[in-house]
């Protein structure tokens, strides 16, 4: 068991060492492709459809009235 945990720790250290060598750019790029690329693709499709529907205006309609109770939140 002790040997196994030593092996595991060794691998974790190697992994951390490897991550440490990757620069911020690569990490953020991975993050982008994993998290934001699907969002971007969905938005592009949505914007294409909305443009098709109303190409005479770029106004974005706001249907929800402002709820003053949301003033408690930072979002």
């Amino acid at each position: 068991m002790k040997v196994l945990s030593l092996y595991a720790w060794n691998y974790i250290k190697k992994l951390l060492h490897f991550i440490g060598r990757i620069n911020t750019f690569v990490i953020l790029s991975i993050f982008y492709f994993a998290a934001f690329f699907p969002v971007k693709a969905a938005k592009t499709v949505a914007s294409f459809i909305s443009k098709k529907q109303n190409s005479n205006s770029y106004w974005i309609k706001r249907t929800e009235p402002i709820d003053p109770a949301t003033a408690k939140f930072q979002f």
């Binding site: 911020t24 934001f36 106004w59 706001r62 003053p68 003033a71 408690k72 930072q74």
Partner: protein, 389 residues
């Protein structure tokens, strides 16, 4: 007898930090931080302006019932991250340069306010940037109902909004989102003309009458303006969404036929470019106002946001739109956001009636003749005192 309710409004950390204090719905004091620090457009936490407001009302931090901040920091951060993701990897440099400031202070507004106002124990509220602009104009206007137009560089996502005010309520009906922004386009041309963007737009407005709008078509290549006042910027040439530089220099040079001005004298071409951006801005502002009238059918208009500081464009609204009455918040830029959030809290969050009308803009520090005389004497500055006629 109930003790009065004090609300402190704050704007800071982008440009034009300011504070304002209202007592039972009446404005007591309002001032921009730059007036105390002598740093133009100072964006730091407005400690001096707050101290002045408290002194003016003869109260202490513990007497403040609520503090309002003029935008929603997490929504704004969402925009920064999403835009960076959408334009990745071109946005790498601008994202990396913006992140430290966000991590250091802009994400911790509540904590920063609590740290700066140690004895304040009340609630902290946040409004959207353009709601603060809309409130700063409509809620202190003489109108019971009005169309509200806000135009600036950018808040969270919105850069332009059309809303409607009825009694205490503000309803934003339509908006245009970043990166499409009339304020940013004006700032970009300000930069191209060799002036400081987000600061020297007034110089471009002042330069405009010396030129002719011969580059109007070229500017209209940068902004597609629809009949209803909505618009879209040409993001093939403009790059403010993905980089710290505003535009692709080669493409702009090709478009206008001359490079960006870096110092040196102003040529005819520079004057003509100023006239062109002014002409296009006026055209856009008038179209937006006409659309606001169509939406609201109100004869009253309230304006706010940095673009509403363009007094030349404002001057044409009465003559060229169906509006009969206009109210423009004197501090239409981000400093006015402090005023907006304070009045929004009083009327919309705390559900009180409007009872204040902004009739002048002299809400900052004032100095008596004696104080000025003492200062000049202390500094050994020669002066002549002219008696009032």
């Amino acid at each position: 007898m109930n003790s009065p309710t004090y609300i402190l409004g704050i704007s800071c950390f982008y440009h034009d930090a300011a504070a304002c204090l209202i007592k039972d719905g009446q404005l007591v004091a309002a001032a921009a931080e730059e007036r105390f620090t002598r740093k133009k457009h100072d964006n730091n936490f407005p400690s001096n302006a707050i101290a002045y407001c408290l002194k003016e009302a003869s109260i202490e931090e513990k007497d403040i019932d609520a503090v309002g901040f003029y935008e929603k920091p997490l929504l704004k951060f969402e925009r920064i991250v999403e835009v960076a993701a959408n334009t990745w990897p071109k946005s790498y440099k601008s994202f990396i340069s913006a992140i430290p400031q966000w991590l250091r202070k802009k994400l911790w507004i509540k904590e920063n306010i609590q740290k700066e106002l140690k004895n304040f124990k009340g609630e902290i509220y946040f409004t959207e940037h353009h709601v603060a602009h809309a409130a700063s104009s409509y809620l202190v206007s003489p109108f019971k109902e009005a169309a509200i137009v806000t135009l600036d560089g950018v808040g969270e996502w919105a850069t332009t909004t059309i809303g409607q005010g009825t009694e205490e309520k503000i309803n934003i009906r339509e908006e245009i989102h970043f990166p499409h922004s009339l304020g940013l386009l004006y700032a970009i041309i300000t930069h191209y003309l060799g002036f400081k963007p987000n600061s020297a737009e007034y110089k471009v407005m002042g330069l405009a009458p010396y030129g002719k709008p011969v580059y109007q078509k070229e500017i209209e290549n940068l902004i597609e303006l629809k009949k209803d006042g909505s618009f879209k910027l040409n993001m093939d040439i403009l790059t403010h969404d993905e980089s710290t530089s505003f535009y692709d220099e080669e493409k702009m040079k090709k478009l206008f036929g001359f490079p960006p001005r870096i110092g040196g004298p102003l040529s005819e071409a520079h004057k003509n470019l100023a006239a062109s951006i002014q002409t296009v801005t006026e055209k856009a502002v008038l179209a937006i106002c006409r659309h606001a009238y169509e939406l609201t059918k109100s004869k009253n208009l309230c304006l706010a946001g940095g673009v509403a500081l363009n007094c030349v464009a404002n001057g044409k609204i009465l003559a060229e739109t169906p509006f009969e009455n206009i109210f423009i918040e004197p501090a239409a830029g981000d400093d006015g956001g402090a005023l907006g959030v304070a009045f929004y809290i009083w009327t919309n969050v705390l559900k009180n009636k409007r009872s204040f009308e902004l009739k002048h803009s002299s809400w900052g520090p004032q100095f008596s003749d004696k104080e000025i005389e003492d200062f000049l004497e202390k500094k050994k500055i020669r002066a002549i005192f002219f008696q009032e006629q």
